[in-house]
């Protein structure tokens, strides 16, 4: 069952459509640049690319190796891409949720973006060689519970319908498994995971919502979180990270994908998303909302935990 192939045949046509649209908007001067994916040296691999000339539009591709959430390049923390003029960006449905969140948090303006949406059947999991075929076994965990195969509200979406088989949900099962444990067992689980952390901050750097110019955890007056990659500091860092993303993270799972130590970071994010959905009926990423669940309140909010 894990070998069941997932149909990615539309990606060739999607690639062609992206190239055509990028060429058009660049040559017509709609946008100053298009952020997309390009093939890289390793067989089947892809990497983010910024195309500024219509002639280079042919570089753009879409494949199951196009794993990145490019939204991160549009945040204020990433100064490498000049934010002058309108920018085109290739987005999967999951990436779009991040953009929607960023708009709600005054980080981006819709009118300054040209969104090229990608009909997506899924991308590869992080530890899989880029030239591997997409199957039920090699697909990224987030894609297993994707509800945004076709992005909506984009300026351009190639007219292709991805074939998306029903897959077993990964995160809900993991959350249920952990919730069924005793606190001590959960502590042991997370301690084992967090112990591996080397504080490379890849999770933070790829996160579209970690757009702070100065991370709280980089501060030393006072030192809110130990910066040392020891178990204590690691634990604190990951708790603070999850808390700061609560109600904002829409599950692009980039943190988890890039973690060189395989820490299941998105599991924390999904757990928080689940709780906020239950508590306040809030789901991130579906519409531009000025106030997230932790920036607002209702007088009737649950307070059963408060004596």
């Amino acid at each position: 069952m894990h070998d069941n192939p997932i149909d990615t045949s539309i990606y060739a046509a999607v690639t062609e459509a992206i190239q055509g649209e990028a060429r058009r908007i660049l040559s017509e001067g709609h946008v100053a640049a298009v952020v997309g994916y390009a093939a890289a040296r390793r067989k089947g691999s892809a990497q983010p690319v910024v195309v500024t000339r219509a002639d280079d539009a042919g570089k753009l591709i879409f494949s199951a190796a196009c794993v990145n959430n490019l939204a991160v390049y549009l945040t204020k923390a990433r100064k490498e891409i000049p934010k002058s003029g309108k920018i085109g960006i290739v987005v999967k449905g999951c990436d779009l949720k991040a953009l929607v969140g960023l708009m709600g948090e005054s980080q981006l303006k819709r009118e300054e973006l040209y969104l090229i949406g990608v009909p997506c059947a899924g991308v590869l999991a992080s530890t899989i060689q880029p030239d591997t075929a997409l199957t039920a076994g090699t697909i990224a965990p987030k894609c297993r519970e994707c509800d945004a195969h076709l992005p909506t509200g984009c300026d351009f979406v190639p007219a292709r319908q991805p074939v998306t088989p029903e897959l077993e949900k990964h995160y809900s099962a993991e959350i249920a498994r952990l919730e069924a444990m005793t606190p001590a067992e959960r502590w042991a689980y997370w301690k084992g995971q967090f112990k591996k952390c080397i504080k490379c901050y890849a999770c933070r750097q790829v996160c579209p919502f970690c757009f702070c110019e100065q991370c709280l955890c980089d501060r030393n007056k006072p030192q809110m979180v130990e910066t040392t990659p020891r178990p204590a500091g690691n634990f604190a860092w990951h708790i603070v990270r999850a808390m700061h993303l609560a109600g904002r993270c829409a599950g692009c799972a980039e943190c988890e994908r890039v973690c060189p130590m395989d820490i299941p970071l998105n599991l924390l994010n999904r757990k928080m998303a689940k709780e906020l959905k239950e508590l306040y009926d809030y789901e991130a990423g579906f519409e531009v909302r000025e106030k997230g669940p932790l920036a607002t309140y209702d007088e009737k909010d649950d307070q059963s935990f408060i004596k």
Partner: protein, 166 residues
């Protein structure tokens, strides 16, 4: 005159984060009413529960607290209109997170204690202290603080001894 105090093997360290207008005043009232409660609690005063950052709770546990009490004005009573409403959501989320990483929520108590509720303050502090006393020390964070990466570990007897003594 004074009743003999029961000696306990373990005296938990309790940190209370309270707002100045309601709970701090409630604790003052407990004092002026000469109510009695365990001496384990250390109160940190904030203008409002809205100011209490979840990181402080984490920090308190890391610094050796065995129990944490967070207390402020009842809904609708906030001196700052809505600080406690914001805090309520923040802590509803944060406690779920702590629970998920394996912190026993028995060690973390939230309450509304008004300036008139000296008795409730005593009840909260006593309840949490007694509960945490039964639960024993908050080992998890204490152990975590001592743990090193294997590569950084050293095994001089003196240091081992020093670590053991902490």
């Amino acid at each position: 005159m004074h009743p003999e105090k029961t000696k306990h093997a373990f005296e938990p360290k309790i940190i209370a984060f309270v707002c100045t207008w309601c709970t701090y005043a409630g604790a003052d009232l407990a004092g002026t009413s000469r109510m009695q409660y365990p001496a384990n609690v250390r109160v940190l005063k904030f203008p409002c529960t809205g100011r209490i950052d979840p990181v402080f709770i984490l920090k308190a546990f890391q610094q050796g607290a065995d129990g944490v009490l967070v207390s402020g004005c009842h809904p609708g009573d906030c001196h700052y209109i809505a600080g406690n409403f914001h805090a309520r959501r923040r802590f509803a989320a944060f406690r779920k997170l702590l629970e998920f990483v394996g912190v026993d929520l028995g060690r973390l108590q939230f309450s509304w204690v008004s300036a008139a509720e000296g008795g409730k303050w005593v009840e909260m502090v006593t309840g949490l202290t007694e509960r945490v006393r039964l639960m024993g020390p908050m080992q998890e964070f204490k152990e975590l603080a001592l743990e090193e990466q294997w590569s950084g570990a050293i095994n001089t007897p003196e240091l081992q001894e020093a670590y053991n003594s902490i």
